[in-house]
């Protein structure tokens, strides 16, 4: 039953957003073609046309990427409010499933859609920046393999800057691991963000919290967000746990900031995990409370 709920969750979220993703795909293909096409063969005017076209398509792609994130958020949260507590709630809430199953399905499908929208957004930015960087670096004929070195050149500048400050650049594998951990933390943050909105919308349909009407979800979201953030910060101050990473991928934990700083200065990696585990703990708590509200307290309009 949970699988069917998740399938329906994805279908309803994607039905509201697929057109913007198709638009982005078309723009990406056009931009890719412009990057690859050798405009120098059509003279100076051709080169200028290439620059202008690439710029226009890049800007359009960036704007569409921003819209896609906003649209996905609106679709996910709108669908939750409508399908749980609006008119569609008469269908959803009469299903023979627990509130926790309904919530989990909405949460999984919603969070995955939002994460995908963020990924697509960042990929679009990278793609657009590649287009601009190839122009700035003078490789008008971007089909030239050398033009793909622009990121390598940019990375060289960054490494020089770090080394100039007296620090050691960690091994690539460590950087890769830390970047992945930050990406994971970002994903966890998106999940709790989506869940907090679901909690706020749910609370706004429970007496006496429904008195704030449409303002309710906004007030309860910021209130619960402040509590979650406050808890994370407090825990970080009380006991901040770092994950130390060395080149052999041997992970160890420490609660001492000095050890974490020392790791970086030795060319190893360190990653604070307090935020992640605090967020996970709070997510579980918020999920259970929200599921309980759905089963025991909520009134469908």
């Amino acid at each position: 039953m949970l699988g069917k709920l998740i399938k329906n969750g994805f279908k309803s979220n994607l039905s509201a957003t697929y057109t913007i993703y198709i638009t982005m795909l078309v723009l990406s293909v056009v931009l890719g073609a412009l990057i690859m096409f050798d405009f120098t063969s059509v003279g100076t005017n051709g080169a200028v046309a290439a620059l202008v076209s690439k710029l226009v398509v890049s800007v359009a792609l960036c704007i569409t990427a921003i819209i896609s994130v906003i649209l996905t958020l609106v679709a996910v949260f709108g669908d939750f409010a409508r399908s749980m507590y609006g008119q569609q709630g008469h269908l959803t809430m009469a299903l023979p499933v627990r509130g926790s199953a309904l919530l989990l399905a909405k949460w999984l499908s919603g969070a995955v859609c939002v994460i995908i929208s963020y990924l697509v957004f960042y990929l679009s930015l990278v793609f657009c920046s590649f287009s601009v960087l190839t122009d700035l670096s003078g490789y008008i004929n971007a089909g030239d393999a050398a033009s793909y070195n622009v990121y390598a050149i940019a990375w060289q500048f960054i490494t020089y800057a770090i080394q100039a400050s007296g620090k050691i650049i960690p091994d690539e594998s460590i950087i890769f691991t830390v970047v992945n951990l930050y990406a994971f933390e970002g994903g966890v943050r998106v999940c709790i963000f989506v869940l907090l909105v679901f909690f706020a919308v749910t609370l706004a349909h429970v007496y006496p919290f429904d008195k704030l009407k449409k303002l309710g979800p906004i007030v309860y979201f910021f209130g619960s967000f402040a509590i979650v953030e406050g808890f994370s910060r407090l825990m970080s101050k009380l006991i901040n746990v770092y994950l130390l990473i060395d080149t052999r991928y041997a992970f160890t934990f420490t609660i001492y900031e000095s050890e974490a700083n020392l790791a970086w200065s030795k060319g190893l990696g360190a990653f604070p995990i307090t935020t992640i585990y605090c967020t996970v703990i709070m997510s579980i708590a918020v999920f259970l409370v929200t599921a309980l509200l759905i089963d025991r307290k909520v009134n469908v309009d």
Partner: protein
Amino acid sequence: MDYRPEDAYSAADRQYPGYSANVPPHPYAAPGGGPMEDVVIYTRNTFAFKVRNLSKAYGDNLVLDNISFDIPAGRIVGLLGPNGCGKTTLIKILAGLINDYSGIVKVDGKRIGIASKSHTAYLPDKTFFPDRFRTIDCVDYFQDFFTDFNREKALDFMDRFGIERSQRVNTMSKGMQEKLQLLTIMAREADIYLLDEPLGGVDPAARSVILDIIMNNYKEDATVLLSTHLVNDLETSFDHVLMLGKGSVLVNTGIDNLRQTGKSVEEIFKEVIGDAWEVD
């Protein structure tokens, strides 16, 4: 399973406090405000609904005031009452859409939850299918979630009523959407049907069609609880009548008991409701 007093409710519970202080007992109701039938003659599972001391308020507005009643299974029950008397609230509680109430509510012997919902087909007085759905998606959705859903029956209904399978819900008229909802609900072989104003907002010509769908397609031995204002159109269909007014149960009895008075249900309705119209 036979009825066992220790499993059911206390003697005090069986006093059926169906009348509030400001609504005097009506002669058509059973002594104490309960059903005319004696509880003890039914086995436990023959009750479609058992409600004890149910109260529900929206803020300061007390909609259901400590009501208690039993409805035997296998009947077509007319839920009657003026606007605002709590008919929709009662149906939503029985369907599991309102959880914030006090009292004990059992549907088919089960507390409101997954077990009761899996045997209950609920038709609200609102359109509930998402706009993006095609009509065939509505059928697929019901098939996904309700094991008692008869897909062939639903498709047959759609063909009979000229509903295109690829048509989107948001391109259908409100009347067609209501018809689609009714078809999918009645294609379930549920033990309990909760129908909230199925004839509300429907033109007289369509009423007989809808009534025909309901009366000819519910599962044998199932209980149909049907709320309506249109007492005259439906009174010949009812086996049992539950009248609410001012948050209380005014009448809860079999139709035969009412007919013994020589009056129509509509006449009794108007007589009983009386002051309860003030709720409007």
